[in-house]
Amino acid sequence: MLQFTPWSALGGGLLIGLSAVVLLALDGRIAGVSGIAGGLWFSSAGDRLWRVAFLAGLVGGAALWALAGGALPSPRAHFPAALLVLAGLLVGYGTALGGGCTSGHGVCGLARGSPRSLAATATFVAVAVASTFVVRHVLQIS
């Protein structure tokens, strides 16, 4: 049974917010992960280095956490790879079309008071709730 963890959630959230402030203050960029990663396609050579560096930092930050002995999730044993690929395609295509994900719209956009980001966030959270319900309780995959 998973538990409600308000303090670590809040602490992690503050770090994510801090990261977004640092990236805007220094590089003038929005810390939207789908935009930073998707922007590697068709970008000029000069626009690539900071993107790769940010994404390497994401991987490195989680790895440092693990090296420091932080708790890691135990991977699901039998979650279908085909579903992961389908989910990946939808997340990649959808965030590119909608111009953002949980970080770009959900954190940075809301922090800027953008009605567009509020509409996006309300939409993807509501649809994800429905999608989770279908996968877990109708198809019974977990």
Binding site: G12, I16, L84, G92, F133
Partner: protein
């Protein structure tokens, strides 16, 4: 001159690396790298776990205060100008894209940040998800570029 430019680009990359590291630790600390934790929030029918709201709440409040102060300046420290999204329209693209993202997020419990952060943790799930995600993003961007190009060509062509 050109070494000056390179030095700026390297400084920007180091800043991005630092921001990424902090973001990655934040995702790990908040357990957003655990798809079951995320699905515990999205699954409202069982024992609902509201933790994700605290993650977003903390991030949004701190970012809102920080953005306000940062944007009082005319430019970022390491670049000429702020690169902020200019689109404001709540249109079909935004809603359809966000809905497709929502379907995928609810299917597996990964959004882009946690999926990429998981690449270094020895969990094979991310290695299925992330390449597919990049392919999906590449496909949409390719379509959008091609549409812009054919649109421009059609507009330039003499009406006959």
């Amino acid at each position: 001159m050109s070494s000056q430019v390179n030095r700026q680009a390297i400084a920007r990359a180091l800043a991005a690396l630092a921001a990424g590291l902090v973001f990655g630790v934040g995702l790990a600390l908040s357990q957003m790298i655990d798809p079951l934790k995320v699905l515990g929030f999205l699954d409202v029918s069982g024992a609902w776990d509201p933790s994700l709201m605290f993650v977003m709440g903390g991030a949004v409040v701190l970012a809102a205060a920080g953005f306000y102060l940062v944007l009082l300046r005319r430019r970022p420290l390491l670049d000429e100008r702020f690169d902020l999204p200019s689109r404001a329209a709540i249109d079909a693209r935004l809603l359809l894209g966000s809905a497709l993202f929502g379907v995928g997020w609810g299917l597996a419990g990964y959004c882009p940040g946690p999926a990429i952060a998981t690449l270094g943790l020895g969990n094979a799930e991310a290695w299925w998800f992330v390449p597919a995600m990049l392919a999906g993003a590449g496909l949409q961007r390719w379509q959008s570029q091609r549409r812009a190009r054919t649109g421009a060509t059609a507009a330039d062509a003499p009406a006959s």
